[in-house]
Symmetry: C2
Subunit: 333 residues, 2 copies
């Protein structure tokens, strides 16, 4: 076997999904689509890390309720976040009585968890699999950048970590299926600019998209939308250009969750949104809803992650990227 693309013999569907976001995301152009918006970004908790965990809990609880199932119907739970040792997930999902795998894929985690959940479902070894992902602006700033109180100036290319979580319940009976996936390889082009993560991740997105098209003989025009999450404005430009060198023109089909979630001119979010809660909430609240309504029927979703931490940056390290692809297809209405 040398194929990177896995087409599922037993493709799962998205039975339900649920999104929770913070106030800035609620004020953005997708505000009306999210299931839950916290006014103070604290979700009733007293630390930012506990707030992020609470988002994960609320997202999974909401998705389980929407799916009209109970915790114990879920065979396996996959989750991840950006925080060190993935504490957003382990503390957020503590109360669910479900076998649990922790994943780390940085901002690719939403795609990674959906891809892996689909593989597990397709194997027949589980009937209902849940995937949960989150990020929080304030916990990420503490983890990766500066104390919030410091009020550091942001570079124009810097992206803004989305306060958001998304939970997906995969199994039988939903209107959108996961047709196939393509797992990413770690790709390092030597980028070291922590304020331009889009540039660091774009080459891995190009690699995965190219591999998918090559193996499946598809081209961009076969899809209604090619949505990355989250390269932001600058990374998206680089991705489109990198693919043009490969004679793949995605310009008419491409968008990015980090470009969709905030109002560029009004919300002062520089390079756009990022953080694995960005694609997790945007895919649930916006893209999958458009697929369910019939507005979109065949969508490629590519989650893009940067696999560094603050210590590797201090040690002069590069920023390796990874991108996992999930192809969603709407059932004919």
């Amino acid at each position: 076997m040398s194929s990177r693309v896995i087409r599922f013999k037993r493709p799962p569907s998205v039975i339900a999904s649920y999104s929770c976001v913070g106030s800035e995301e609620g004020k953005g152009p997708l505000g009306k689509y999210f299931d839950f918006i916290s006014e103070d970004n604290k979700f009733g908790k007293d630390t930012w890390e506990k707030s992020e965990s609470e988002m994960q809990r609320a997202a999974l609880h909401g998705a389980i309720q929407k799916a009209k199932i109970s915790d114990t119907d879920v065979d396996i739970l996959l989750a991840g976040d950006l925080l060190s040792q993935c504490i957003g997930s382990s503390f957020g999902l503590l109360d669910f009585d479900i076998p649990y795998f922790g994943l780390y894929g940085a901002c690719s985690t939403c795609a990674l968890s959906i891809a892996l959940a689909s593989l597990i479902y397709s194997s027949g070894m589980a009937d209902i699999v849940a995937a949960v992902t989150s990020s929080h602006f304030c916990s990420s700033e503490r983890q990766f950048r500066y104390p919030l109180e410091y009020g550091g100036q942001r570079a124009p290319t810097a992206q803004w970590t989305v306060t958001g979580a998304g939970a997906y319940i995969l199994g039988e009976g939903g209107n959108v299926t996961v047709d196939s996936v393509c797992f990413g390889k770690i790709t390092d082009m030597g980028i070291k600019d922590i304020n331009n993560m889009g540039a660091a991740m774009a080459p891995s997105a190009a690699d995965t998209i190219k591999a998918y098209f090559k193996e499946t003989n598809h081209s961009p025009e076969d899809f209604d939308m090619i949505v990355t999450g989250d390269l932001g404005y600058y990374g998206s430009d680089i991705l489109r250009e990198l693919l043009l060198f490969e004679d793949i023109d995605i310009r008419d089909k491409h968008t990015d969750c980090g470009m969709l979630i905030y109002e560029r001119d009004k919300q002062d979010k520089h390079g756009g949104g990022s953080g694995c809660g960005c694609s997790a909430s945007v895919m649930s609240a916006h893209i999958l809803k458009r697929m369910e309504s019939g507005a979109l029927s065949d969508v490629l979703f590519i989650g893009t992650g940067a696999l560094m931490n603050s210590l590797t940056m201090c040690q002069g390290g590069t920023i390796p990227g990874i991108s996992h692809l999930v192809r969603f297809k709407a059932k004919e209405l």
Copy 2:
């Protein structure tokens, strides 16, 4: 489906495994079994984090060579470590041209990665899957405890993070198969003592072992060995006692990778070894070799992890545990 135990219809075998350890581990009772021992714990690198990455690289390279395959024969690579954002894995495995998933399971990662790799193999969607895990005493001390230069006194119950990595190549043709797995649930009994991680993890190990015995109608006497990794001396005592309350007596069969790797009386390692490189290296160098030689034929391996970080401890958090079970069976010689 409400079963936690997955019995594989297409059970994978361990085609090859490879262990790399540091000097302290080399001086321990298993010293002669490890594939590679670094004299200075630096593995030729200039930071502890890069040293840990180099161990992962060397372990996977060694396992691929032992298996007499090449990188491109491996369909999927699963890896994890204890460092924030799993940088041991992402930087260590950068050079391998293999689709990659990052996992986070703290010290349960070796069992988690083997369990998940087995599930993927058994699904038929991959033919060769690799699983790699590491920990490094010095990078872990920096991450979780004190600067090494501070020379902090260690509590008697504190475990010593093993400098070690293990890589496993799963597929067809090896002499030891993965018969079944049982995925763990996050278990929190309210333990907050960072110097007694064994106590924090033991309840989750008891939960997973009990679930396995209950679902399969097996009892401890059906196995040659029940090996946890890594509860150390104190956590192992608690596990045995917790299971006795459930009328499960594992005392004659149980050992722990954290009790095997150092000489208790001579090496001054207090509560024993820990860190996900402990079980990763001990299972490869010692237990699987004993299975291949015919000394053991049916072994339960339970990887035990503590899902906290230094920030959750500062915020007064508990230490949730998780334990994943893998059942290895030797083919009849």
